[in-house]
Symmetry: C2
Subunit: 710 residues, 2 copies
């Protein structure tokens, strides 16, 4: 999108001299700031804001960017015209497309086809426009251009973009590039992400999104971008009610939030929940160095606020740095006797700028300190501006972040202004400074994040292909443990099991599987097997198996005379392991999403599961296991032995490969997978294939949705 943002000539198709018309607003926005050529186009010709207008774009010839504001039904013809004369960049401001009705959706499809035909990059339709402050280009109907700055912002909501611009203007926050995404017919968040990543004036990438067009593309773009620059995203429509609003609002179907949560954490996105957080964190990320660790020091001129700050820091997993003895001694020597030289360092209510400077220099030099919260409250003698100047001076040269909280009001107005002018992050409430510092620390980890490929196991795809084809031919879309060969083909250990139809085969199978065994009756009419004596445990030898078989065949018909007995299922009896579940559902945005959890109540009642988008790599597989709240139960607490979590991770990776190889698998679950001190065995499975397009929502996927709306 570089050509679009660096445009040397811009046509406004639908330019107008009439105030209140969008074609007027766009012209005014451009004329006020833009130094390049402006070409108004209006079928009536004449002069617009002092510039002679063409009656058609063909009359003028190619420009670097065309901004279109004419009614929607006229736009396809105009885009065709632009394409024919070689215009490659278009912003369609006009509404009246997908967001309105089916006819609008048809028009929008036409635009998409034309853009493909002519290789046109098109922003919108139904958007506010774009800005590049470093080119003085305000191609939007926001009357003022943003201040120059280091943040770039894309927004799927025009109103949120307008609100942010208005707020930023008041607070003197600067931007580099701004894009109102609109309906995202052609240019979407992934294109903007790449553009912002490459823009040398952008240091922080921010986005307000309601949905994502291309999930896998988003993950790829974000992984690349987030290693170069922090990427902050507000993803709205988290809750089911919110999602309803999304679909009625922009026609985008929002994916379930679990998938967003998983995807964002897998690709280095810093998810923020509100616009105030986004502004807070952006200013820290734009102007502060990253900390090398999470050990912070609080400098304060009062105890109470320091306690609150300490509380918030600990809650946010920051460490209150243990100052070295040298530092403490130096502080002791240089500060008044009643000052606190432990962290928080309390320089007392009567602290002068010099005393703040001494404390700041001393703690900055401490190797145990990674970052500073510089806290100031208004006391009767406080020289706020002097103390602000100390922060400014040191922040410019320090390799450690210094975030300020000048916590007051009227008497801090001068200091606040000074800090803003020098681009020193300052927060009214200490809590917000702490959370911003935490975000700096989080980003320092994301920046170094590696994304290795998933392992490529040697598997037998053919077997699975055949099983699936055979099922599809029979119109069978749900496969159970009779299809264990799928697991075996992907190297996943399964419990010994067999379904047999007569005593002879049963005895043979028993010898093959080995004892002890469980036998269960197989009959479509019998659902509560144990009620009719249809489950026999602890079969330790052939005699036990024979007795159990004969007992079932003799006595069950007496209790259930109408049941067809198709045979029995034998399964190795397991003991000493723990039940876990590995599952997968197709997410509409991101594709196969895997799930891990402990079996039984842990999934059903505690909803203690972890999601990840497939394909997952080894680290992600381990994180799925370590990420559940009850992971301690696998780690050998309370005298228990530790379970073989590496075996679980291996199976997660193999299933990840399976569901990636076969996108026709709509849902998949191994439940339970029994894990032991050594190894793990799949005991049952359930695999659902896509029926035609999208099948009905299954239980697993419903529970994922419930989770996401919490």
């Amino acid at each position: 999108m570089r050509d679009m943002f660096d445009a040397k000539s811009i046509a406004v198709i639908g330019a107008s001299e009439t105030k209140g018309k969008i074609g007027y607003d766009i012209m005014r926005s451009l004329v006020n700031y833009y130094k390049g050529e402006i070409v108004p186009v209006n079928i009536k010709g004449g002069e617009i804001l002092g510039i002679p207008a063409c009656t058609s774009i063909s009359e003028h010839g190619p420009v670097d960017l065309a901004v279109i504001t004419i009614p929607s039904h006229l736009i396809p013809a105009t885009v065709e015209e632009c394409g024919e004369i070689g215009i490659k960049n278009i912003v369609v401001i006009s509404a009246g497309f997908k967001e309105i009705d089916e006819e609008g959706a048809r028009l929008e499809n036409e635009l998409v086809e034309l853009c493909k035909k002519y290789k046109i990059k098109l922003v919108g339709p139904n958007c506010l426009g774009i800005m590049n402050t470093y080119n003085d280009m305000n191609a939007s109907f926001s009357s003022d251009i943003a201040h120059k700055g280091k943040i770039s912002f894309m927004s799927q909501s025009g109103a949120i973009m307008a609100a942010i611009l208005d707020y930023a203007d008041k607070k003197n926050i600067g931007f580099s590039r701004i894009v109102s995404l609109g309906n995202k017919a052609v240019i979407n968040e992934n294109d903007c992400m790449k553009d912002f990543m490459e823009d040398e004036n952008t240091e922080v990438i921010t986005a307000y999104l309601e949905g994502i067009v291309d999930g896998p593309g988003f993950i790829e773009a974000s992984r690349e971008a987030s290693r170069k620059k922090p990427v902050l995203v507000i993803k709205s429509g988290r809750t089911s009610k919110g999602s309803e609003a999304v679909s009625s609002h922009t026609g985008t179907i929002a994916g379930s939030d679990s998938a967003y949560e998983a995807a964002f954490s897998q690709c280095g996105i810093i998810r923020v929940n509100s616009l105030d957080e986004m502004m807070d964190y952006s200013s820290a990320l734009a102007f502060s160095p990253l900390p090398k660790g999470n050990r912070i020091v609080i400098i304060t001129n009062a105890g109470g606020p320091a306690i609150m700050t300490t509380d918030v820091a600990i809650k946010n997993n920051l460490e209150i740095a243990e100052l070295t003895c040298e530092t403490k001694q130096k502080l002791k020597d240089g500060l008044p006797a009643t000052a606190s030289v432990k962290n928080p360092v309390d320089v007392l209510g009567d602290a002068s700028p010099e005393r703040y400077a001494f404390a700041l220099e001393t703690v900055l030099a401490d190797p145990n300190v990674d970052g500073v919260i510089y806290l100031v409250t208004p006391q009767s003698v406080t020289d706020a501006e002097g103390i602000a100047k100390v922060a400014i001076e040191h922040a410019k040269s320090s390799e450690k972040p210094i975030l300020c909280s000048f916590f007051g009001g009227t008497s801090f107005e001068g200091a606040e202004k000074l800090l803003a002018e020098h681009q020193i992050p300052n927060y009214l409430y200490p809590k917000r400074a702490v959370k911003s510092l935490k975000t700096l620390y989080n980003y320092s980890i994301i920046k170094d994040q590696e994304y290795p490929d998933s392992p490529d196991f040697d598997v037998d795809k053919e077997i699975v292909k055949n099983i699936i084809q055979e099922a599809q031919e029979k119109d069978m879309y749900t496969l159970g443990l009779e299809s264990f060969d799928i697991l075996k083909a992907y190297g996943i250990p399964t419990v010994g099991t067999a379904i047999t139809k007569n005593l002879e085969d049963t005895l043979k199978a028993a010898e093959e599987i080995g004892y002890p065994l469980v036998m269960k009756i197989v009959s479509p009419q019998i659902s509560h097997k144990s009620d009719v004596g249809g489950i026999k445990l602890n079969l330790n030898n052939a005699d036990d198996v024979k007795a159990a078989y004969e007992d079932m065949m003799e006595n069950i018909p007496k209790k259930e005379p109408n049941a067809t007995l198709e045979g029995v299922q034998l399964q190795k009896m397991l003991s000493g392991g723990k039940e876990v579940i590995i599952g997968m559902v197709q997410d509409p945005t991101f594709g196969p999403m895997m799930m891990f959890g402990l079996g039984g109540i842990y999934v059903e009642i505690l909803k203690d599961v972890k999601f990840a988008i497939a394909p997952v790599n080894e680290e992600e597989a381990r994180e799925m296991i370590a990420g559940i709240k009850t992971h301690e139960l696998l780690e050998g607490t309370r005298g228990d032995k530790a379970m073989d979590t590496e075996a679980i991770a291996d199976i997660i990776l193999r299933i990840s490969q399976l569901v990636t190889d076969f996108p026709e698998i709509n849902e998949f679950e191994i439940n339970p997978l029994m894990v032991f001190e050594e190894g793990a065995l799949a005991v049952d499975m359930r695999l659902m294939l896509k029926e035609g397009g999208s099948g009905p929502v299954s239980e697993l996927s419903q529970s994922a949705r419930v989770k996401s709306s919490e």
Copy 2:
């Protein structure tokens, strides 16, 4: 404290003409605003700020309030002098007491004794002073008096009070009374709570506290106050690190946070975590009517912010109101075709004040609507001031709360000012409007909260008294299940159990308890009973019991030749129930704190427990059970039968009575309590008595502490 706040004459003891001295600051603060008599006292006499000074307070005689700023070691004599001439209200600004050292603590004790002797109400020492804006009294060293308003504020931190005043000045937020609590030697938060509750100018009570002096008194005062006026409290020092800061700061030992959390929810306190929340909620509570329910409607001129607002509302358990058909039809008829008449009601980007007024009136008339979020974003045609006037006009007459979010910056400055002038709550970010509305709803419930007494069971205190006395005489401080008589005396069902020393008694006890039984060897030397065959399950008749007894007596000595076999323990074997735990620890602030949780991993790993301060009433007991995350497990999900939670509640209430009756019980636990479909039985217990002063911290109490630091 009414006399103190309504003082008609104030002496400043230590008044000074020298700038920079506190005695000067206080004089200046008073002279600037106060209309009553001001009496400067300075041993040198002379004139201070134009008022002739006395050389001692006795020279002048009694005043309604004396503010003391002289050095701490001189203060006891001065307080004695005040007492002798009949002064009843004193504020000690000076520091140099408990917060400094032992000598300071001694001085502070002297003050306390003098105040008792002369019935003096004393604020401080070590504080900023007090204000009453309705009496124009600024007896503090904050130079400006606060604006008049409806909020009263007490603060244990002078710096936080100063910061809030400075911030409130900038934002035009008004107060009624303000107290800097300082060391709380005499007047503490409970006195202020009562005073604020009675002050007719106070509508919202707010507090910043680091510790509480008298926990039970606080609960009593808060229950009374919170039914009359909302009480918002920031309790700092939540985390263990934070608490460390507390103890080094004011010498107050902060109680564990679990106890605060429990106590606050039991007495109607609205706990807030930060000062921004406190300011947000206070302005809603001070100026808005309370909603009758939690069904809100969002009026907006843009989709994106409405989605974010919906998300936050659902996350905060507010309901997005389902508008009636009539309302929707009326909106449809009166709004443009593309407007959304479902909630959120989108009046579109070009909405005029008239259109906002129409939408607002229509939804306010809907019986399904309890409150309104009035959301405005800056669009090119937005008449922000006009739209603000609509909100002002309707908010004045509406019985339903209308909270505004004018979400923008520069272009909303006029509207913001208008809203502030008319005391209409307005929040930059919609999230904060939603959370404030939620707080209004929460308070509507607290306001009607009843606090019935705990039931008074007919119990046998004598038995317990004797058991405890006997134990104390033997220097035994830990009692186990051999003291089940304590439970029996309080009507708590226990599992049948007996400890016997020979076969004959064992057989007799077995018949008494009934079968099936478990037998365990009793021997101080054997800790792993099952390893030596010292546990026998499933004893179904006298023969089984005899065989088990003889087997133990014969074979255990072979394996453990050095063990003394003292006998065996018989216990009824239970099946089909669920294990729960009921415990109690003494909290240093609030006294006996009870705990409920499910047994095993639920307590140990999930830390899924609920606390409540004893004595608890029936509703609180039920809430302890319903309040754990895994309470579903007791309610008969997954095909299980529901457990008898009423039986658990009954036992919680009986233990509450036990630990209230016997404060010498330091810790107590029934673990497990087996609960069944009908009834519950204590299977084991552990009771620890106080040893002299404070005993060592037990496991249970440690785990409670771990919990609180999370």
